[in-house]
Every structure is written in structure tokens, then in C-alpha cells.
């Protein structure tokens, strides 16, 4: 047994690409998640950052077994989720829940808040009696900041922020220990985003939730997370304490990501130089050899296309990155005002 609550070992999720009408054969594989190692202690909030197509959502779903990984292992509280099958997995799902990006799509339009929440509760708590059910649902609604007077309302009668609250309540209805939030605020307005982030941070603290917060927005992630993992093309390229990763990025990709985050300050915005990466992220079907980032990397040397860099830290700390020039590059974002 290890000290970690959640352990992910060499997780790979590949999707076969098939062609052919009569005889389907594999013509390639999309390596959405390609060898991820992560561990998280109970109650810790991990931010998972990356651009679209980097595999961060697939990683989240693979951890929760919504997509079954191709290889590797996910251990939650000493139990292997990857080895669970059928009914055992279904019953174990109470321990790990997910919050989705689009609160307009993640709620069944034909179910009231009461229906949705009580369905979730009854699935894993058959003993719950009719009389106990309603007060429990009301309590849960209050907990996520929704008035119980909306018990019988349907999802379309709520605003985006309120719907996200319902989705959070539904995930919490089964008392999970691990929560994966996949871009939970990117579909919401700025002023509503802050409300939801606060709510998640507060609930995580109260319920001792282990939270994986997936987002493309570094500034959002930085605020809520204890640690940040940066993903690029199916791999984690940098991992460390949130403040460290943000203010002292080691990996060239993280540097670019941090430098691209706009700040609402006209002077510093105009003065600073962004690291503008050429081109778009390559496809995960034919990832470049060696370091997946080397074709876009401003610091790339010949060796970068040869070897896949190992995860390493500068000083033996928990702030690690996979870059062969780790020790040559200055930490931090260059040229910032």
C-alpha cells in the first residue's frame, strides 16, 4: 500500500482508427493518453492543463473508466479500477464522479432536479426511505447554493451557472471521494465562473474530496489547484506545485502557455513579449518522434527528435518536467515585463 489515494501508473488510452467496408482493419492509432503517471493524496486538488486535443479529457474519462484504458493501472484507495468489470465497477462508481463541461448537455432535459438528484442517491443507497429522500435532496441543493424551492424545476428553466450547480449536486449525491471536473467553468460567463470555482474549492475542502480540475485556462487552474500537471499530446510534460509551475515554468511548452495567458492590464500586456509558438499541435495519430513538442519548441536541438526525455527535477523537488535541456534553460518565462 502506498501513501497516495489515487495512483495512475503508465496509463495509455489508444483509439484504433479503422478503415474498410467489409474487412475492417486498423490503419493507425490515436494515442490520446500515452503513458501517464500521476499520484494524488487524499483531499488534494490537481489542476490538469493542456490545449484541445492534448488528451486531458480522455485522461479524466480513463481514470473514471468511462473510457476503458488500453493499458496501465488506476488505483483508487488501494483498489484497482482498471481491473474491475461489470457489476463490481458499477457499484464502485459511487466513489468517483465527474462534472462535465457543458451544463446544458450534462443534464437530462426531461428530469426535474428532484428526479435527477434522487435517482443518483437511490442508485447507491437503496436503504434510503421515501421520507428521508426529500430532505436529503433539499439539503444537497442548499449545499451547492440552490434554493429548494426549485426542486421541481426542469434544467431548461435554469441559467448556465445554476445548471452547473445541479450537476455538481448530482455528482456529490453519491458521496464520492474522487471528483474529476472536466472544464467545469469554460462554458460560463466570467462573473459566474468565479462563483462555481469558489463552490468547488469550498466543497472539496468540506468533504475532503480529491479533485482533478481539467481546464485549458491556466489562470483558472492556478487559483484552485495545489499542484498543476501540464499535458501535451497525451503525455504530462510538467508537474509541480501550482505557484511554482505558474511563476517558474521549466518546460518550454509551459513557458509558452504561461506567457500566452493574457492579463487584464493594458501596460504589461503591451510591453511583454509572448512566446508565439509556430503552428498547431500535431495530431495524436502520428506524434513526432522523440519529444512530442520539439517541432514547435523554440529551444529544440537535434537530440530532441531522437530521445523521449525522462521526468526530472532541477533540485530533487516535486517540481518536475520532461525536457532534455531542463538544466540548460533558465526557469521562468523569458522576456516578461
Amino acid at each position: 500500500m502506498s501513501d497516495y489515494f489515487l495512483e495512475i501508473k503508465d496509463l495509455k488510452t489508444h483509439f484504433p482508427v479503422e478503415r474498410g467496408i467489409f474487412f475492417r482493419h486498423e490503419v493507425g492509432r490515436v494515442k490520446a493518453v500515452d503513458g501517464v503517471n500521476l499520484s494524488q493524496s487524499q483531499g488534494e486538488i490537481l489542476g490538469l492543463v493542456g490545449e484541445s486535443g492534448c488528451g486531458k479529457s480522455t485522461l479524466g474519462r480513463s481514470i473514471l473508466q468511462l473510457i476503458r484504458p488500453s493499458s496501465g493501472e488506476v488505483m483508487l484507495d488501494g483498489k484497482s479500477l482498471t481491473r474491475m468489470q461489470g457489476e463490481a465497477l458499477r457499484l464502485a462508481r459511487a466513489d468517483f464522479q465527474m462534472i462535465f463541461q457543458d451544463p446544458f448537455a450534462s443534464l437530462n432535459p426531461r428530469m426535474t432536479v428532484l428526479d435527477a438528484l434522487s435517482e443518483a442517491m437511490l442508485t447507491h443507497n437503496k436503504a434510503l426511505s421515501e421520507q428521508e429522500l426529500k430532505p436529503t435532496v433539499t439539503g444537497l441543493m442548499k449545499r451547492v447554493g440552490l434554493s429548494p424551492q426549485y426542486l421541481r424545476k426542469y434544467p431548461h428553466e435554469f441559467s448556465g451557472g445554476q445548471r452547473q450547480r445541479i450537476a455538481i449536486a448530482r455528482a456529490l449525491a453519491v458521496n464520492p471521494k474522487l471528483l474529476v471536473a472536466d472544464e467545469p467553468v469554460s462554458a460560463l460567463d466570467v462573473s459566474i465562473q468565479a462563483q462555481i470555482i469558489n463552490l468547488l474549492a469550498q466543497l472539496a475542502k468540506e468533504m475532503d474530496l480529491t479533485l482533478i480540475f481539467i481546464s485549458h485556462d491556466l489562470s483558472v487552474v492556478k487559483h484552485i489547484s495545489d499542484r498543476i500537471a501540464v499535458m501535451y499530446l497525451g503525455r504530462i510534460v510538467e508537474l509541480g506545485p501550482a505557484e511554482e509551475v505558474f511563476s517558474n515554468p521549466l518546460h518550454p511548452y509551459t513557458k509558452a502557455l504561461v506567457s500566452a495567458v493574457p492579463t487584464a492590464d493594458p501596460h504589461s500586456e503591451r510591453q511583454r513579449k509572448r512566446i508565439i509558438l509556430p503552428g498547431d499541435p500535431p495530431s495524436a495519430m502520428n506524434p513526432p518522434p522523440g519529444c512530442p513538442f520539439h517541432p514547435r519548441c523554440p529551444y529544440a536541438i537535434n537530440d530532441c527528435s531522437q530521445t523521449l526525455p525522462a521526468f526530472d527535477s532541477l533540485d530533487g523537488s516535486h517540481h518536475q518536467a520532461s525536457c532534455i535541456r531542463l538544466r540548460e534553460l533558465e526557469p521562468g518565462v523569458p522576456n516578461q515585463a
Binding site: R90, M98, S106, N108, T112, A120, P148, Y154, V174
Partner: protein, 302 residues
Amino acid sequence: MAEALERQPPITSPVDDHVEPGSSLWRDAWLRLRKNRMAIVGLYILIFLTTVSVIGPWLSPYTYQGQNLDLGASPPSAAHWLGTDTLGRDLLTRIFYGGRVSLAVGICATLVSLTIGVLYGTISGYVGGKTDMVMMRIVDILWSLPFIIFVILLMVLFGRNFLLLFVAIGAVEWLTMARIIRGQVLSLKNQEFIEAAIALGLRKQRIIAKHVIPNVLGPIIVYTTLTIPMVMLLEAFLSFLGLGVQPPMSSWGSLIKNGAQSMEEYPWLLVFPGLVLAATLFALNFLGDGLRDALDVRSSKD
């Protein structure tokens, strides 16, 4: 918590016993349908025709097979409101009885196609993969069989049976239903709320019953209202070919067939059954169109 709650805005005073009623999408759809005049007229016509067909025969002094050879074919009169046919049978009464048959065929055959089609389509779409492929190829093969030959084969094998007519028609119509439902389920399956239901650990049966089917009910209802007239036309067509209901029983299709044979001498024998069938088909189509508009989720968001 209390502090956070206070900042939660839209909510004035969380009073537990005051629960606001919600407005389901069904209710919204009904409110929209009510504003569609053509659909409502269609609905009334259907209700009227069904009621009359059901209770009409009891009120009528004539029976559908009671012949009056002395009278023969006579035009509409006070005794026979819609006239009589060549055998002197009261046309109105025969239309009532025909309505029973035609509507029963329409509804039963549609129910048959609905049950098979929805189950088949939902399973095929939801399970997906190889199962889906095999199930859909079976549909393709059945689809390619010529319908008339299929029915004639059934008739030859099992004799001219009224029940068989439902089954035969229903067994053909479910193919389209299954395809439509499968398409809907496929697009629904990728919705996040289905994924959320899986993540919650719900059983497959419950996900299908509670999350998938209620969300394809819209298209199912619409397609049903459009299937009924199709089925009624098929019945009329089969009766026209002489493969449908057998004399002296009548259906709207067989009445039209008989009327057509003598339409030059006794036009009322064609005109009245034709009018009734046409009215029913129009009404169903208008209702179907209205339902489609009313159930369209896009229009509920405007």
C-alpha cells in the same frame, strides 16, 4: 456555508415548503401545439371521426351486411343519409364499420411497428458496435423484400386473416421506425447526460428507460402520427387489390374500391368514403406537422 448561501443570488428566501412548479418540456410543447390552429383542427377531426366510428353503429338502425336488394343503389335520402350501395346496404353504417376497421388497422399496425421499431432501434443504437451492424444489416435485407410479395406470401401461407393484416403491415413499417430511432439514439448516446448516468453507476436498463427513450419520444410521437395514415393507405391499397378485409365486412379502402368500380353510375359510393379517408389523412398529417414543430427543442429555446 451560510455565508456562501447568502451570496447565492437568484434565490430570495429559501422557504422549504414553497416549491415552485416546474414547466416540463412536454407541457411547453402542449402549450405551443395549442397555438397551432391547423393541428388543433386536425385533432378535433380525429376525435370526431373516432367517436362516430365507435358509437355510430349502435345508433344506426341498419347493419353493415343488412341488404335491401329492392332498394339497390340509391342516392342520399332522409332514410339513408349517404345513400346505399348496389346491394342496398346503408353507406353511412358501412362507413362507420369501415372506420372501425381502418382506424383499428391504423392504430394496431402502428403499435406493432412502434413496439418492434423502438425496441430494435434503441438496442441497436445504444449497444452499438458489431451488434448494431448485424441488426441494421437485417433491417436492410428485410427492407429489400418487395412488400406486396411479402403480404401475398403471408396470405397464401396463413389464409386471409384480419389479424394477419395488422401483423403484416406492422412488420413492414417497423423497419423505418427502427432506423429513425437508431439514428436518434446514436446522437443521444454521445450526450453528456448519458455519460453522466453511466458515471453514476445506473443500470443499462434504467439508462435506456429513463434517459434514452424519454428523449426520443418526440420523434417517436411525430413519426407515429405520420405512420398511421401510411398504414391506413396501405390497408386501403391492399383492400383495393382484394387482399384486405373480406366482404361483407367493410373498410374505408374496400368501400373506395367498390365505389370506384361503379363511380360513373353511383358517384356517392366513391365520394363519401373518399372524403372521410382524405379528411382523416389530412388531419393526421396536420397534427403530425404541428407536433413536430411543438416538440422541436430548438423552438423552445428562442
